[in-house]
């Protein structure tokens, strides 16, 4: 999407144009869903988190300070939803479902994928969020820090430790 079209869609969305909002959403929806899926480990909650984010973002897009910030702004909302659901899991441990990584692997079965996917799902909530924002969405340490509300140095060190952890899980 060209910058002019993007800005035009933001201003239309601010006026309540749902079609314009859906064009903006088209730029980020895959990353949003996959980040939510990986962080929450189940399809249903990932879909809930994304749909709640869509409604919140649409109703509060007036508060978006700069068009350029759309991507990180909507991810920030998504992160708040994910965090909230993770807190709900923590409060009701009996409701935690098994990770659905088997489903992820159905379409393209490879042993190395199974091993890595299992290792990835052994990471804790924060590690999975940081890893998906970094690897899938390509955010820098500073951007992840802003989205998650933690220090940049913490993001960098956590990311490094997470990758080391994955290596050790796989080679163990």
């Amino acid at each position: 999407m060209k910058t002019d079209d993007f800005k035009k869609d933001v201003s239309l969305a601010v006026k309540g144009d749902a079609q314009a909002f859906s064009r903006l959403y088209a730029l980020v929806y895959e990353e949003m869903y996959r980040t939510a899926f990986f962080s929450l480990r189940n399809e249903h909650d990932a879909a809930d988190a994304v749909s709640e984010t869509v409604l919140d973002a649409f109703s509060s897009i007036k508060k978006l300070r700069s068009e350029d910030a759309f991507r990180s702004w909507i991810f920030k909302i998504l992160m708040a939803k994910i965090k909230r659901k993770q807190q709900e899991y923590a409060n009701t441990p009996s409701d935690i479902s098994e990770p659905e990584y088997e489903m992820v692997l159905q379409s393209e079965f490879k042993f190395e994928h199974v091993e890595l996917a299992q290792a990835m799902y052994r990471l804790d909530d924060e590690e999975r969020v940081i890893l998906s924002l970094s690897v899938l969405s390509g955010y820098t340490g500073d951007e992840i820090a802003k989205i998650c509300g933690i220090k940049s140095s913490t993001v960098r060190s956590k990311l490094m430790r997470t990758k080391e952890k994955l290596r050790s899980y796989i080679t163990a």
Partner: protein, 211 residues
């Protein structure tokens, strides 16, 4: 390894409902008046539940021939109770038959409208009550123009008849906690949908934000 991780993360297919082609319709559906109807039904159901509880208390007290002294307490999750409740219901139980639920419904309406007037919200409901000895704090959630608002209302005890101070937070209530003379409120900000926390010092019917 990053590439392999990316391969795995890119695998789950996005459900059709969440694809951009269906999002405009999804937004339109969720803006419909159905939501308002659901909210009204919830408030009415809550009112009916409160009515039942008070009816039970009234019947219980009448069966003991003890109509002149009626102590009605609403106990909340934090272990405190609403001292004002009795005032709202004074008229209802002294004049009417205990079995007549209509009067309690009216009384309950007074409770809700009282809270709403205090907070200036629509559909206000009390989330928590805290008794600080000198000050009674009500944490209330409601909305203004369909946007969630949370308010902390302070009343000077022991009478607790008049609102003495209030703080309104622009967002949706999550939880509140008391620590000595401090009250912390966690809410989701309307500004950026992130979780925020405000800590209030409570005393003599006043609320002061801790910086």
């Amino acid at each position: 390894m990053s590439e392999k991780i990316k391969d795995i993360l890119q695998m789950p297919e996005v459900p059709d409902d969440l694809k951009p082609g269906n999002i405009a319709e999804f937004i339109e559906k969720n803006r419909s008046p159905k939501n308002k109807i659901k909210l009204v039904i919830s408030v009415v159901s809550a009112a009916a539940a409160v009515c039942l509880v008070f009816s039970a208390v009234l019947v219980h007290n009448r069966s003991k021939n003890n109509l002149t002294v009626l102590t009605v307490k609403e106990t909340y999750t934090n272990g405190t109770s609403d001292r004002k409740t009795q005032n709202y219901f004074d008229g209802a139980y002294e004049e009417g038959a205990a079995e007549d639920c209509a009067e309690e419904v009216e009384g309950n309406g007074n409770v809700l409208s009282g809270i709403s007037a205090d907070a200036g919200f629509e559909n206000a409901e009390v989330k928590e009550l805290f008794d600080f000895g000198e000050t009674l704090c009500k944490v209330v959630q409601g909305n203004t123009s369909e946007v969630y608002q949370t308010a902390v209302l302070a009343y000077l005890l022991p009478s607790a008849d008049e609102l003495t101070d209030r703080i309104v937070l622009d967002g949706q209530f999550i939880k509140s906690e008391r620590d000595g003379s401090k009250l912390s409120i966690v809410y989701i900000s309307n500004d950026d949908s992130t979780e925020k926390k405000i800590v209030l010092n409570v005393g003599e019917g006043k609320l002061t934000e801790e910086k």
